[in-house]
Structure formats: structure tokens, C-alpha cells
């Protein structure tokens, strides 16, 4: 009978929460993968930091039979060869690591800082939004003055388009994971005083230019290639994926960003962006990537403690604003 005996359950093992870390659930995902989940279904960057800490420790342990890991928001998927590394052994090792990996606070996470130029409300995303209004939905409430930025302002209780730009540039954006499409980053603001949120397109947008930057829920993404999409767009940046590997930044593989990168947006004009994009493709542009910094979780948590009141104030401002805004 399915589900009636221990061996057939989806959950392999559970660790209860302690003062230092959330509960851990080990789940079967076939005989070649397991999924490790942390805590409850809440978005908490400190959980994501802990996952990177564990990922680091796991890589250093050099476990024979472990093929690769996929850190994500509150989980990590492990790809392994169950014949070289039996599942029970893998789970036992992971449980032991939970005791040795320093608690979130004492972690230093290797993290690159990547500066990317962005043209806010640029003409390329504007053109695709115009097509959406023409061919997909005329009365989309998330499109004001031919773009999504004014809507982002209203939805978050910000005064105008400029304040949206200021907010997006006021914080570094933490790349919590990459996926769905090669090189597509899922980024969250490290400074929650600027944590804007939006609902997604309805219906989704059939067109999005390569390099477009948008937000869905609390998450900012860069579209690595021209594709359909559902995020509210606010600008366009330089390539984060290049099939032809035309720039030294793409020498190892066509994907620019890595999990645990921090992205800082630098506003430019459409013309500046266009010429920078040309220099990316002719190989003369050098991406600004600083690799020597690490994210110290303890000092980060200290920083969060100091801005609590401001974060709560912004959340209240957002909650009030949402009441007066239509959802797509």
C-alpha cells in the first residue's frame, strides 16, 4: 500500500529547530536527488545565507558520489550517485554538517559584488510594453504612461518614478539562486528599507527584451534572453548571458552571475547603455566584478537590527498604498 510503510514516504528525516537554526526536512526526489528544506514557507535571507554556508562546507568536504548542489531560497537540491553514496549515508553526513556549520551569525559567505549599468524606463522595454497594450491587454492597470514604473511607485506608496529609481539603487541585490533559464538570477534587496514588491502581469507578456530587469513579488530578475515574462519591468541592463561568449566575462561559460553575488545598479541613459552593450559584444568592456569581499552575516544582522523601525514604517506605507491600487 502506498504511503503505509516507512520506506515509501516522501520525507526521509527531520531535524527539529534549535536556537541556532530552523528545522530541517530531508525529502526524497527520486533515487538521484534529495531536497533539503529549511524552516517554514517564509522568505528569510538569513535562511538563504545558512544554505550557502552549508553548501560551502559540503563542497569542502568533497563527498565522493555527490555530483552537484542547487542552493535556493529556503532549500538545497542535491544531485548524487546513490550507488556510490547511499542515501542514508548522505543524509547522515548532512545531519552531522548541521552541527558543525557555524550558525547563521558566525558565517562569512564568499560573495562577489557586481556593478551593472541600468537604463530605467528604457526605450527597449517600453517598446515591448507598448506591444503588450496593443495586442494583449489594453486596460492593464500595471501600465501607466507606457511603462510599469509608475505602477511600482503607486503599489509601494512611493511618490514618483524617480523615487522608485532611488529605492532600487539604494540597496545591493542578493542573488539567492539562479534558475528556470540558464543564468537567470533571483535577487532580493539586502537593505529591507527598500524592499519594494509588486504583483505579476496578468496575462503574462509575450515579449521581453534580453537584458530587461523586472520585479515580481519581492524578487528582481534579469531576463538573460528575449522571452515571454510576467515581472513588472523597470529597465534594461547589459548581457548576463552570451551564447557566443564574446566578452572575457563569459570565457568560462556563457553565464555571468553566480549564486551569492551582490548586484549594485548604476543608472545610465539609453545612449550610454547602447554603447556599453556594443562594447560588451566587441569584447572591450570590462564588467565590474569585485571578488574579494565576503558577506559577514553577524554584521549584517546587526545592521538589520538598527533599521527595524524604518523597515516597519515602509511596510506600513506599502500596506496603505496597496488598498488604493488595482491588481492586474
Amino acid at each position: 500500500m502506498p504511503g503505509s510503510h516507512e520506506g515509501n514516504r516522501a520525507i526521509i528525516d527531520v531535524l527539529s529547530a534549535t536556537a541556532d537554526r530552523p528545522a530541517v526536512t530531508y525529502r526524497y526526489a527520486g533515487d538521484r536527488f534529495i531536497l533539503v528544506e529549511y524552516g517554514e514557507m517564509v522568505l528569510d535571507l538569513t535562511t538563504n545565507f545558512r544554505i550557502f554556508g552549508l553548501n560551502d562546507a559540503l563542497k569542502r568536504a568533497g563527498l565522493d558520489g555527490l555530483i552537484e548542489t542547487v542552493p535556493a531560497l529556503r532549500s538545497m537540491l542535491l544531485h548524487y550517485d546513490s550507488r556510490r553514496l547511499p542515501t542514508r549515508e548522505l543524509v547522515a553526513t548532512l545531519k552531522k554538517l548541521e552541527e558543525t556549520v557555524p550558525s547563521g551569525e558566525n558565517l562569512n559567505i564568499p560573495s562577489r559584488r557586481v556593478e551593472l549599468p541600468i537604463a530605467f524606463g528604457d526605450r527597449w522595454t517600453r517598446a515591448d510594453i507598448e506591444r503588450y497594450v496593443k495586442y494583449t491587454r489594453q486596460d492593464a492597470p500595471n501600465i501607466v504612461d507606457g511603462h510599469n514604473i509608475e505602477y511600482i511607485a503607486r503599489y509601494n506608496g512611493l511618490r514618483n518614478v524617480q523615487e522608485v529609481v532611488d529605492y532600487i539603487c539604494a540597496t545591493e541585490w542578493w542573488n539567492a539562486c539562479i534558475g528556470f533559464w540558464p543564468g537567470l538570477p533571483f535577487m532580493f534587496p539586502l537593505d529591507p528599507r527598500y524592499a519594494i514588491v509588486t504583483p505579476k502581469y496578468n496575462p503574462t507578456r509575450p515579449w521581453t527584451p534580453e537584458g530587461a530587469v523586472g520585479i515580481g513579488g519581492p524578487c528582481v530578475a534579469i531576463y538573460p534572453v528575449e522571452s515571454p515574462g510576467g515581472y513588472q519591468l523597470f529597465g534594461r541592463t547589459i548581457p548576463v548571458f552570451d551564447l557566443k561568449q564574446r566578452n572575457p566575462a563569459f570565457k568560462a561559460n556563457p553565464i555571468l552571475l553566480k549564486p551569492a553575488d551582490r548586484i549594485q545598479w548604476v543608472p545610465v541613459t539609453d545612449e550610454q547603455l547602447e554603447s556599453t552593450r556594443e562594447r560588451v559584444h566587441d569584447g572591450t568592456y570590462r564588467y565590474t566584478i569585485v571578488g574579494y569581499e565576503a558577506l559577514n552575516v553577524k554584521s549584517y544582522l546587526g545592521f538589520l537590527e538598527g533599521i527595524k523601525a524604518e523597515v516597519t514604517a515602509f511596510q506600513q506605507r506599502q500596506a496603505e498604498a496597496v488598498k488604493h491600487v488595482a491588481i492586474p
Partner: protein
């Protein structure tokens, strides 16, 4: 040289196990949809099991060889011919300069055939693999399916005579039907926390129809009204199938809203929907032979120990001991 006269529905160069090691950068492995037939084809012509070979989906391939090779065709029966004369399936034969190979559209059971040639197809390595990733348009031959006029290079090969007549023992040949039983394991997100026990009982007993809209990214099954263990996805979204984005195992069953989709070779690496069951190493090849709009599948639940035993037996079967001479 392999000169393509007709590419068919979708013919791609693949290798095995594909582009492994890039899941955390968002890249699924690509590679053959039916790794059993693919690896046997290479074995028959004396190549390493993972060497680049062709995956022919639904048929319609017409091509000319420009030199002497040992060739083997495995998988679905597309009534292959060489210069108009029937060519064998699961058995190595010789081709010479100007020989015309033709695979018709599949009529009976199965969906994909594999064509291996001694020496192997020669395409550039991209991110450590020669497999075609159709979604990203990279790997394989120019990142796409073959079409009329393409000339695919082959690596040098010895005289074909030594390989000719090698065939897979009849008792080792997979049975292709139209109603499939596919072994799978419960999870990662099943009962009791995401679905109800009744949902999972239904999942493991229903004969699921394979949707027409299936491809190398996902094999879609029919929608179903699930009971769900949760009322909503909370912060992750309104629907109870929503979760905060997590990595997707390859060959997992993703329940997106009401519809189950088996995520296959070129699937998305990460997303925000639950996966209630995952196929095992030994059963995943069957998905490559499912005919969209026709076939049905029942998932048979197995334990990790059963899955591991099945994995060992399929790998033991893909070996010289399964090959005999005509």
C-alpha cells in the same frame, strides 16, 4: 560526413549523461530522452556509451553517409531503410559512401529512435558536453535540430566489418507499448504536508493520458482536481501548488496548478511549484518513448532500495554481455 536531406520532426545530436554540473547556474542536462536505447546504440557500434549520437523524434530523417561506418539504430521502430532496403533495429550494419539512410514516421509504439555511427558524430563541446539544449539553443549541431542541407562531421572510424552483426539479445530488448508502467518515488512535496494521502493514492493508481503538448522540456499529463493539504501557497502565491522557488530534480513530476508535468532533459532547473513524485534512474528512459496524445502511464511507487536495485540491473544490462552476434 553525414549529409542531411530531411531533418524530420526533431533530430538532435545528444551525448550522455549530457551537460551535468550546471544545475546551479540554471541549466538542465539535455542528453537523450531514452538513455537506454541511446547507450545501446553506441555500444553496438563500438563507441563509448555516452558518445555523440542522433536522437530522432517521431521520424522523418533522410541522410547520406559519405564514408564507411558501422551504424546501429535503436529505440522506436521507424522502419529504417538503407538505399530502400530494410535495415535492422538493435543490430549493427555497415554503410558506405553515398548510402542513403531513411527513417519513416513512427507508426507503432514508441516515439524516439537513436542512430549511432562508429567513430561518433563530431560536434563542438559546449559547457563540457555535446548535447543539444533546445531551449537555450546551444550544444549539439549549432544548438538546434538538424535540417536539410546540414553536413554533420563524423570522427574517423576503423573498418565497420568488426562491428557488423552485433545485436542486442532479444530478451534484453525493451517492450514498447502504448500503456506504460513507470516506476517513481513519492516526493519531494507529497503527503502529508502538500498533498493529501488520497491525492497520492490517485496519482499512483490513475492511468494518466500524455498530453499532445509534450516535448524535450516537459511531458504534460492531464489536469486533475487535487484535494491539496494546504489552502494556499502562502507567501509563495495564491494556489496551493505554489512554493518558494526551489531546484527541480531531473525527471521529477511538477504539479503546476492542477496539471502534472514530468520535467525532462531540457526542462527548467528551478521554479515555484511542488513536485509530488520523481521518476527513478531505471525508469526515466520510458518517458522518451511516450507518444503525446496517445499513450497512458501508471506510476508504480518504489522504495529507494528497489530503485537502487533497478538502477544496478539496467546498468548491468547496458554492457557487452547483452550483445550477441547474428
Amino acid at each position: 560526413m553525414f549529409e542531411v536531406l530531411e531533418g524530420g520532426i526533431q533530430t538532435t545530436v545528444q551525448d550522455y549523461p549530457g551537460r551535468v554540473g550546471y544545475l546551479d547556474l540554471g541549466t538542465y542536462p539535455a542528453g537523450p530522452m531514452d538513455h537506454f536505447a541511446f547507450r545501446i546504440a553506441n555500444l553496438l557500434v563500438g563507441n563509448p556509451q555516452g558518445a555523440p549520437a542522433l536522437e530522432v523524434t517521431a521520424g522523418g530523417l533522410k541522410a547520406r553517409f559519405h564514408d564507411s561506418r558501422a551504424v546501429a539504430i535503436t529505440g522506436a521502430d521507424m522502419q529504417p531503410t538503407l538505399n530502400g532496403t530494410p535495415a535492422p533495429l538493435w543490430e549493427t550494419f555497415a554503410v558506405g559512401p553515398n548510402d542513403l539512410l531513411e527513417l519513416k514516421f513512427v507508426k507503432g509504439a514508441g516515439l524516439r529512435a537513436y542512430v549511432a555511427a562508429s567513430g561518433a558524430f563530431d560536434v563542438p563541446e559546449y559547457m563540457g558536453s555535446r548535447a543539444t539544449f533546445t531551449v537555450g539553443g546551444f550544444g549539439g549541431f549549432e544548438g538546434r535540430g538538424l535540417k536539410k542541407g546540414d553536413r554533420v562531421r563524423l570522427k574517423p572510424a576503423g573498418a565497420p566489418a568488426g562491428q557488423v552483426g552485433r545485436r542486442l539479445r532479444t530478451d534484453r530488448r525493451p517492450q514498447h507499448g502504448t500503456h506504460w508502467e513507470i516506476e517513481a518515488m513519492r516526493g519531494p512535496q507529497a503527503d502529508p504536508d502538500y498533498m493529501t494521502a488520497a491525492d497520492m493514492d490517485f496519482f499512483f493508481s490513475h492511468a494518466w493520458k500524455v498530453d499532445r503538448n509534450s516535448n524535450r522540456m516537459g511531458v504534460r499529463l492531464e489536469s486533475h482536481k487535487w484535494q491539496w493539504a494546504r489552502k494556499s501557497g502562502g507567501v509563495a502565491g495564491g494556489h496551493p501548488s505554489n512554493i518558494l522557488d526551489n531546484g527541480y530534480a531531473v525527471w521529477t513530476v511538477n504539479v503546476s496548478g492542477d496539471q502534472p508535468i514530468i520535467l525532462v532533459a531540457d526542462g527548467p532547473s528551478l521554479g515555484g511549484f511542488i513536485c509530488n513524485a520523481t521518476l527513478i534512474y531505471a525508469s526515466s528512459w520510458k518517458v522518451g518513448q511516450l507518444m503525446p496524445g496517445r499513450d497512458t502511464i501508471r506510476f508504480k511507487e518504489v522504495t529507494i532500495d528497489e530503485a537502487t536495485a533497478l538502477a544496478a540491473s539496467i546498468d548491468e544490462a547496458i554492457a557487452e554481455r547483452s550483445i550477441e552476434r547474428r
